[in-house]
Amino acid sequence: MSTSQSKRRISNGAAFMIAVFVPITIFLIVQLFSDPAVFLTTILKSLAMGSTYAIIALGFVLIFKATEVVNFSQGALAMIGALFISFLVADETIPIVPWWSEGNLVPIRNPIYDLGLPSWMAWGLSFIVALFFAALIGLFLERVAIRPMIGQPLFSVAVITLGLEISLRVLANDSAKLKLRNTNTPWSGKGFNIGDNFLYWSFFAAMIAAAISVVAVFLFYRSKLGIAMRAVARDQEAAMAQGIPIGRVFAIAWGAGAALAAVGGLFATEPPIKQTGAVDAETSLVAFRALPAVILGGLDSVQGAILGGLIVGSAEIFAGQYLSGYTSVLGAGYPLVIPYVVMIIGLIVKPYGLFGTEEIRRV
């Protein structure tokens, strides 16, 4: 009885997916043959968009997989990370707030640029240091706001992260407002043409960064510490009984999550997400744009984060490219809504997300 019921539900879902995907596929094939160059650039652009979303989504997944908390402050962490990159790499300074400056930032020179290294090496080193600073912010937040909440209801912790998001965003906005903060990467603003279509190098940088992040996260989860982190997510008390220091595991997850957010924040300032190449008040919103990717992929799955990011990113770019004739009907800025539409459709078919863990039961 129950098997026949579940069979019918799956076939319903499949029918639903076919109803959604077949018309889209036909439409895309028509577009491919009518203008291949536009189609190709759109694909590259959507891969870049998807990669950026996937990086942000990985940050969510990393923290969720360890703490079971959806970290709503991921956006602010992305913005702060991008700010660090802007200070250390673009301005070649280290921002400090000494006691005599009455709360104003006093930049001191970033010593890495005085070492006489080749410029790309100085850039890379400063970039890594910026990520390290971002990770420190994550560690600090975990220690101050999350650690005392171990064992408390997850909902309370999630709301705390929401509070963190707002307060951090205010702080970050204050330091970003002073001037236009370029992130100034080696590839920023540069690109090449395919036919009439301009392709930014940042598209490819985002894809490479996403690939590196994914491989790093996969390897991490195979390591002893990574396994311990998954164990902590499954059953905190049992993990403690094995001698796994939960506090340290949480701290590492937050540090790594913040570093990933920083990378995501950097690409949030560049095409295809934004043309300016500068950190501004909107940078933190990238996390909410990537949230559908996380939820669609299943909150606790690395594969889910990648696939969710790619699906949501492609949907957004393709809709922006091919439905632009209907702006009067759909409203300006309609591509921003597309990820959420895709997420809702996805959740109807798979309530736990594409790769989300359902409770394991023995049969």
Binding site: I150, G151, K224, I227, A228, R230, A231, R234, D235, Q236, E237, A238, A239, M240, A241, Q242, G243, I244, P245, T357, I360, R361, R362
Partner: protein, 264 residues
């Protein structure tokens, strides 16, 4: 030797669960701790393993020492490192990890890779069933296999004292026998065992010494053989009636409560 002396535990700052619990687990022995539901067995284990924190519990009095080292305020990871590992009630394996990965979490505190490998081989020797399903998801194991995995996981931490909380819970009689034999095997390899059971027959049949707990303190203790022969224990934990087959009133048999044997 593990020594609990007059331990008091309070939950939520009001609920007194352990009222002066004193037990000893000498090296190399199996000690059984018996008691009905709510007697405070699991709380005693939490106190030993440092797991009271998440349950809002605090040790308010008394001391827990292992080989002269005070464990009261240590973190769970430090307690595991000093040689005490607990197999929790209800197995509590990590269901979405594989068998191998579960064992890795057990060996988290052991930094030396060669020693981890040795413990791993030992566990595989002890539980051939687990060796067959090394790469399988732990959640799909049968109840008995999950219990074996839970014990194996605890052994990965190279414990000198293994604490088992209700290892026979929810298992068929045949499997209970198997688990019992495994406990004896582990003990023969030089690991002392503190065994918490409601299945008193099983526990006392392999233990050297036994304690009976009621409402947070020890009401009776002695050699396991002596306890097995004791009429009260028979009556309450083994379901056997003594010499006279007529039913006794609860009040008549609880004479031991008035003896202050636990004040030491």
């Amino acid at each position: 030797m593990l020594e609990l002396a007059n331990v008091e535990v309070v939950y939520n700052e009001v609920i007194l669960v352990l009222r002066g619990l004193s037990i000893e687990v000498p090296d190399g022995q199996i000690v059984a701790l018996l008691g009905a539901n709510g007697a405070g067995k699991t709380t005693s284990l939490r106190a030993i393993s440092g797991l009271l924190g998440p349950h809002e519990g605090v040790i308010t009095k008394g001391s827990i020492t292992y080989d002269g080292k005070k464990l009261n305020d240590l973190k769970p990871s430090d307690i595991v490192e000093s040689g005490i590992t607990q197999v929790m009630e209800g197995r509590r394996i990590f269901k979405d990890l594989t068998v191998d990965e579960n064992l890795v979490t057990g060996g988290f505190t052991v930094k030396d890779k060669a020693r981890t490998k040795a413990s791993y081989d030992r566990v595989m020797d002890l539980f051939p069933r687990l060796a067959e399903r090394r790469k399988g998801i732990a959640g799909y194991l049968s109840g008995g296999e999950q219990q074996m995995l839970a014990i194996g996981r605890a052994l990965m931490a190279e414990p000198k004292l293994l604490i088992l909380d209700e290892p026979s819970l929810g298992l068929a009689p045949k499997l209970i026998e198997q688990i019992r034999d495994i406990i004896v095997d582990i003990n023969k390899q030089g690991v002392s065992v503190l065994l918490i059971e409601q299945n008193a027959m099983m526990a006392l049949s392999i233990a050297n010494y036994g304690y009976v707990m009621e409402t947070g303190k020890i009401v009776m203790d002695g050699d396991a053989k002596k306890l097995l022969a004791d009429d009260d224990v028979k009556e309450f934990y083994l379901g056997l009636h003594g010499d006279d087959s007529e039913k006794k009133s609860f009040r008549d048999v609880k004479h031991y409560k008035r003896r202050k044997r636990w004040a030491s």
